[in-house]
């Protein structure tokens, strides 16, 4: 199982942000490091077809497209967002999507993660606006984990968390990613301890 990236180029306003990325992201936790503005977030967005790019992506040996990404690839953004009123509705929302209908919502598993990531001081029917930035980020993480994607992309998944909670998140991710391809972007040095492979993105070029 591997996500293969071939010649991925992305240009914005005549500026080349990604300059022909070639990479083989294998099963496990792949972490990309890089300075701000090096194109890390852009690369993750391209990997799940949220951005138009030149190049080719294949998974398990087959060329993949946007439809595949909608079904099998999920992106966790740097901050948690919500459009529904309550915590439970926010978490359940992606299960209503056409491409996620094959996945059923496992409430037991959700409650387990909810407690594990320290959100159990809230009731699941509480208004989501009560949550702080860090709590929202954990909720966003739980939401993506429940969808059990084959490819999980995480953009600075611990940027709003303290070090203790960040370590807990990476420990969990390391275990979670054993049977799937995970690509995370990070700038925290301690995350290196949990990575199966480390990459560096510099001026739009990825070095493994």
């Amino acid at each position: 199982m591997c996500l293969y990236v071939k010649g991925l180029k992305l240009t914005f306003s005549d500026k080349e942000i990604l300059r022909g990325i070639n990479a083989k992201f294998e099963k496990g936790l792949n972490i990309i490091f890089g300075d701000s503005g090096s194109g890390k977030s852009t690369l993750l967005k391209a990997l799940c077809f949220l951005l138009k790019f030149d190049g080719e992506l294949s998974f398990k040996g087959n060329r993949v497209d946007e439809r595949w990404a909608k079904k099998h690839c999920k992106l966790i953004k740097q901050s948690g967002f919500y459009t529904e009123e309550t915590i439970i509705d926010t978490v359940k929302k992606p299960f209503e999507f056409k491409y996620n209908r094959h996945i059923s919502f496992d409430e037991k598993k959700f409650l387990g993660l909810f407690n594990f990531f320290g959100l159990d001081k809230f009731n699941i029917n509480d208004k989501v606006e009560k949550l702080s930035g860090g709590e929202l980020q954990r909720l966003a993480l739980i939401r993506a984990l429940l969808l059990e994607p084959e490819v999980l992309l995480a953009d600075e998944p611990t940027s709003n968390l303290d070090e203790g909670m960040s370590v807990k998140v990476y420990e969990f991710l390391k275990e979670f990613c054993k049977n799937r391809v995970c690509v995370a972007v990070s700038h925290e040095q301690y995350s290196k301890d949990f990575a199966d492979r480390i990459y560096h993105l510099e001026s739009g070029v990825l070095n493994g």
Binding site: F12, L50, L51, Y82, T83, P94, F97
Partner: protein
């Protein structure tokens, strides 16, 4: 019967506009030119419409009536695009389709199901179509403006949902909800104020021309409900079409 106003009455009415003009000048609203152009345009348009209506009622040809109806929607769509400042390609066509389908459906029910007309009689069809299309235009302008401004303000949220597998239509469902509400609320507010805060234009017109107020009420209730349904349908169709036509590939990373 209603007493004719005449040219003198019109002139007095125009002088009332002078106060608006003066306030605009004093408060530096810079709307003087807009006031002049808008009311000049309105007067010319109404005079032409009055003149044309004489012949439209005289000929009373269903095909001519339908062409006028299509013209109304064409101009309404253009005005919605202008007012909402929408830049999406073909937006006017999508708005035209939304207003056309919704107002046709409601007008057919109204004219043949409630008023029991035997043919597309111009004296009924044109004024009622004008009211339905006009209200639909106003609300659609609000709905379209809200739809695009909300999308602009919530790009990250939408992108978040897209990243979790949502289609573009699914990712903007909360925007759709909000624009539909924004379009419908003024119609609901206006309905609640009718009869207590104000007498609506159509009812006032009928009373002035000698119709018994209780009879005018029947017409007014029917038209207010018809307007509400058209507003709801046209905005629902419009946001449905627009959310399918959007392209969320972001231009920056």
């Amino acid at each position: 019967m209603v007493k004719p106003i005449g040219l003198g009455g019109l002139l007095i009415s125009y002088t009332m506009l002078l106060f608006v003009f003066l306030i605009s000048y004093k408060e530096r609203l810079k709307l003087e030119k807009d006031i002049l152009v808008s009311y000049l345009r309105m007067s010319i348009q109404l005079f032409v419409a009055g003149f044309v209506l004489i012949y439209v009622f005289k000929f009373d040809n269903p095909w001519i009536n339908i062409i006028i109806f299509l013209f109304m929607i064409f101009f309404a769509s253009r005005i919605v695009v202008e007012r909402s400042g929408v830049k999406l390609k073909n937006a006017a066509i999508f708005i035209f389709i939304s207003i056309l389908i919704s107002s046709s459906f409601v007008l057919v029910a109204l004219l043949f199901g409630i008023i029991h007309l035997e043919s597309l009689n111009a004296r009924y069809f044109i004024p009622l179509a004008g009211m339905v299309v006009g209200n639909s235009m106003n609300s659609t302008a609000i709905g379209v403006e809200r739809f695009f401004s909300k999308i602009k303000d919530n790009r990250e949220r939408i992108e978040d949902l897209l990243g979790l597998g949502a289609t573009e239509e699914e990712a903007v469902s909360f925007v759709r909800r909000d624009s539909l509400k924004a379009a419908l609320l003024p119609v609901l507010a206006s309905a609640s104020g009718m009869g207590v805060v104000f007498l609506p234009g159509m009812m006032t017109g009928q009373i002035l021309s000698g119709v018994i107020p209780t009879q005018a009420v029947y017409y007014q209730i029917v038209i207010v409900i018809a307007i509400c349904l058209t507003v709801c349908l046209s905005n629902y169709l419009m946001v449905k079409i627009l959310s399918r036509k959007l392209n969320f590939y972001l231009t920056s990373g």
